[in-house]
């Protein structure tokens, strides 16, 4: 498929460079022309970068944008309706962020955006341009030194199956920024947007309280 095939929306991919992003939220952009909208919205297919490296780079409705993930700018094709969880997992290979429900009611997909915990299943990737996304993979130092909360979980043998673990850890890291010295009950409220189906909540709180302590000391 050639690039020209992809331009049926009248939207040139070449405009989608980082320097144009600051204006991309502006109403003046031609994608607001109704005819364009009607023509382009229904038929769409996601490209899968890891699987089809030699295939198409653009498909209808997709855009190449830059997002800041774990301190690095990452350039990535993102569909308009794509969630951050999907981009992280399937476009950037950051599979530590889990999809447990995809409906904002389990917390396994929690990441921080500008240090605030969010359900990445319920954030459109296009809305995080210019913001700082941190995932579980971005916590440890480059030399492998674990983040204090990670270290605490290892020390306390926190969690069982751990499918919820990255979400809990990200919630804790975000919560500790606003309340570095929580009581056990405050921390439980802080991570209450995360569901554990092994229901090992007491040991989780043991580990996360230890994490708060390590974070204060760090």
């Amino acid at each position: 498929m050639s690039d020209t095939d992809e331009l049926k929306n009248g939207e040139s991919p070449s405009n989608e460079n980082p320097s144009s992003e600051s204006t991309s939220k502006s109403i003046t952009r031609r994608r607001f022309i109704l005819g364009v909208i009607a023509g382009g919205a229904v038929v769409s297919a996601a490209s899968y970068r890891f699987l089809a490296p030699h295939g198409r780079t653009y498909t209808t409705g997709e855009r190449l944008i830059t997002i800041n993930v774990n301190g690095k700018p990452r350039r990535v094709d993102v569909m308009k309706q794509e969630t951050l969880a999907w981009t992280l997992r399937y476009k950037l290979g950051l599979t530590g962020t889990k999809l447990g429900c995809d409906r904002a009611e389990c917390g396994a997909c929690t990441v921080t955006i500008d240090d605030v915990p969010h359900y990445s299943c319920s954030v459109l990737t296009h809305t995080v341009r210019g913001r700082k996304v941190t995932t579980i993979e971005g916590l440890a130092a480059a030399d492998g030194t674990l983040h204090p909360v990670q270290k605490a979980v290892v020390d306390e043998q926190g969690f069982q199956c751990a499918f919820c673990m990255s979400g809990f850890i990200m919630s804790t890291v975000g919560f500790l920024k606003t309340n570095p010295n929580p009581t056990r009950s405050e921390l439980a409220h802080g991570v209450s947007g995360n569901l554990c189906r092994c229901q090992d909540y007491t040991k989780i709180l043991d580990a996360l309280m230890r994490g708060a302590e390590y974070t204060r000391r760090a």
Partner: protein, 336 residues
């Protein structure tokens, strides 16, 4: 055609940066547009592929819709202000505590970090038949699945049913009604301000709608007058789980006391009716009476007059009676 309740269909995403642009866009797109604030309600509809808008207008980039302004007469809260910000705001905590309490009990921390006040007041009902795409009255059909002898209606209405028996699920709305808040709308005809309780539409008026917004309308702000600042507030939410769940019922009240005598009072209850309920008769009846258990019990009984329970929600009658009582007399702490 086969059904799949997963994977958001494609849409075009419009990201205006001013509210004027947003309003103009909504006007242009008309019925094709879906307004997304925090997205916590929108994503369910979209991911379930029940709603397939051509265009989603994302309000998250509009800075002028965010933030809390202390004005000469109360506070003005931008529609895109997150619930977390409201819950933590010093002035609101100090003078309008019923609202900080209400929003801090919404859903979960992450949802409050992203969910907005505009979104919370504008969210759709949660009737599980309707939300699952069954062709009920509210969805434009001609049947109610919840109101049958075996329909599952534990969470449904005891008041205001008119073909539809869904309830309004918002936690912030009763607090806003109690505070006599005003909703500010930008419409094709210019700015409009309405009383909080008038923002909502019952099935008797338009069964497919939950609020008065027309295509092209945008809720931009909510103004809380200083009238009730610092009065005695009460908020209580009863829900099954202590996180995430919508209210089985909530109540919010503001009382101006002189001594222990009720001067004026505003009280609203939600999750009992398709529209949030302001209890005007109760407000009038308690005026001049002591804020005690006797008045509370009288008010509670009055509040549930005319309630019509469904098969599985009769418990809502004592619950409402007791919550209204507590809104006046507080939680009993004496030995029984």
């Amino acid at each position: 055609m086969a059904i799949i309740r997963d994977v958001m269909p494609a849409f075009d995403l419009l990201q205006p940066s001013t509210s004027a642009d947003a309003q103009k866009l909504l006007e242009q797109c008309g019925d094709d547009a879906w307004v997304m604030a925090g997205g916590m309600d929108s994503f369910d509809w979209l991911k379930d592929r029940i709603k397939k808008p051509k265009v989603v207008v994302d309000l998250s980039g509009i800075d002028e819709l965010k933030g809390i302004r202390v004005t000469g007469d109360g506070v003005e809260i931008g529609a895109m202000t997150t619930l977390t910000e409201i819950a933590n705001h010093a002035e609101i905590r100090k003078n309008y505590g019923v609202l900080s309490q209400a929003v801090s009990l919404v859903a979960s921390p992450q949802i409050r970090n992203q969910g907005t006040l505009g979104g919370n007041v504008s969210q759709d009902v949660r009737c599980w038949y309707y939300r699952d795409g069954w062709p009920c009255y509210r969805a434009g059909g001609n049947i109610c699945y919840a109101d049958t002898p075996v329909g599952r209606n534990r969470e449904h209405a005891i008041f205001g049913a008119d073909r539809c028996v869904a309830v309004h699920p918002s936690d912030s709305v009763p607090a806003l009604i109690a505070l006599d808040a005003k909703f500010v709308l930008q419409t094709p005809k210019g700015e409009r301000t309405v009383d909080a309780e008038d923002y909502f539409v019952g099935p008797d008026m338009d069964i497919t709608k939950i609020n008065m917004l027309q295509p092209g309308d945008l809720l931009t702000a909510i103004r809380i007058p200083s009238t009730w600042a610092g009065s005695r507030f009460y908020f209580e939410k009863v829900r099954d789980r202590n996180v995430w769940d919508f209210p089985l019922m909530n109540v919010a009240s503001a009382i101006m006391l002189s001594g222990n005598t009720i001067g004026r009072m505003r009280i609203a209850v939600n999750a009992v009716s398709p529209r949030p309920m302001r209890l005007k008769a109760v407000e009038d009846a308690v005026q001049g009476k002591p804020a005690d258990a006797t008045t509370g019990e009288m008010a509670g009984k009055m509040a549930v007059e005319g309630a019509v329970p469904l098969q599985f929600n009769a418990y809502k009658i004592p619950l409402m009676r007791n919550l209204v009582k507590r809104a006046i007399a507080g939680v009993p702490s004496q030995q029984a």
